[in-house]
């Protein structure tokens, strides 16, 4: 039984476990080069697709592993916290987030790694992100209908089209491999054009 299902996430052991897993998270982000805002934003100028490759690889690795573990009965997918689906606020939020990402140079997790690498722009980004969160809190009472209308607590794409979790994860893996190969070709084309 996981800590979320036992309501122990915010207890001493939960906090310690989250600290340790956060440590591994920060380590891998930094190893990938995501402590650099110029590397993170290079994808938007078609020069370095590491963001796409790392994200797709991580997502496919975790999707296939979790579906396989669930198939073996080692993980109960129904006992996990799943981020809810709310299409319109997530479209709007994603659009805002994307603009903030390319203008600010970071997303929240990578900005933490940027601060750890000594980047002043990462610290300023995080101050901005904190302020943006408080601005949202001030607006939230007037937005509630928009934010939660049509919200679904769990909405798996493969299951909504009659596909199981493991076949769905394998499809994601195939898409990840194809996208990464295509990205490498674009990188080479762009490098040849701007030597």
């Amino acid at each position: 039984m996981n800590l979320f299902a036992q309501d122990l996430l915010n207890g001493p052991f939960g906090l310690l476990a989250a600290l340790a897993i956060g440590g591994a998270f920060g380590f891998w982000l930094e190893r990938a080069g995501f402590g650099s805002s110029r590397k993170l934003t290079a994808i938007f100028y078609l020069q370095d697709f590491a963001v796409l490759k790392v994200m797709f690889t991580a997502m496919a690795t975790a999707a296939v592993s979790l579906a396989a573990l669930a198939g073996l009965g080692a993980v109960d997918l129904g006992a996990l916290f799943v981020p809810p689906t709310a299409v319109w606020p997530q479209l709007a939020g994603g659009a805002l987030f994307g603009i903030g990402f390319v203008a600010g140079g970071w997303c929240p997790g990578t900005a933490a790694v940027g601060v750890a690498s000594g980047k002043g722009d990462a610290l300023v980004f995080l101050v901005g992100a904190g302020a943006g969160s408080l601005a949202f809190a001030a607006l939230e009472p007037r937005l509630r209908g928009f934010l939660h209308g049509g919200e679904q607590p769990v909405c798996s794409l493969p299951e909504s089209i009659g596909l199981g979790a493991l076949p769905g994860a394998v499809v994601l893996l195939v898409i990840a491999v194809a996208a990464s190969l295509a990205a490498t070709r674009v990188e080479r084309l762009v490098a040849r054009r701007n030597p």
Binding site: A92, V102, P108
Partner: protein, 170 residues
Amino acid sequence: MQSERPYWNPYVAGVGLGLTLVLAYVVLGTGLGASGGIARLAAGTAHGVAPAAVEHNTYLAAWFADGSAVRHYLVAMLAGTLAGGFLSALAAGRVRPGVERGPRSGIVLRLACALLGGAVAGLGARFAQGCTSGLALSGGALLQVGSFVFTGATFAAAFAFAPLVRKEWR
């Protein structure tokens, strides 16, 4: 000065990150997250300055139900992310104080964009109930529709907006 080591292969880093996410789901029962920890730190700070205003806000008040908004696993995870990033950067000779920007950008332009960009991203993350970690990556690994919608919108908007801030980076 110690020279920087090269970054690791993106597929190696991706597998490491993916297995970290699996560990998070198995042990914690939830995925990775970052924006929630930042929002809680901001709420905790605001509460120190203006406790009444924060407690009267219905969105933030729920975070103080147990007394403290920051005694929360997402804040612990954020502290871990900072520590893990620091150890990795230190070992690779990549801890370099400075403001990162393109050759045509001044420090003031870069920091102004970082502040405004951070604010817009922070606002967007709360609209969507997550960021690249909690919604795009963690929900994407569970193949959630909302995660794919958010990821698509994020990258479409970033590509569309990129030409306007080209001077900042290239």
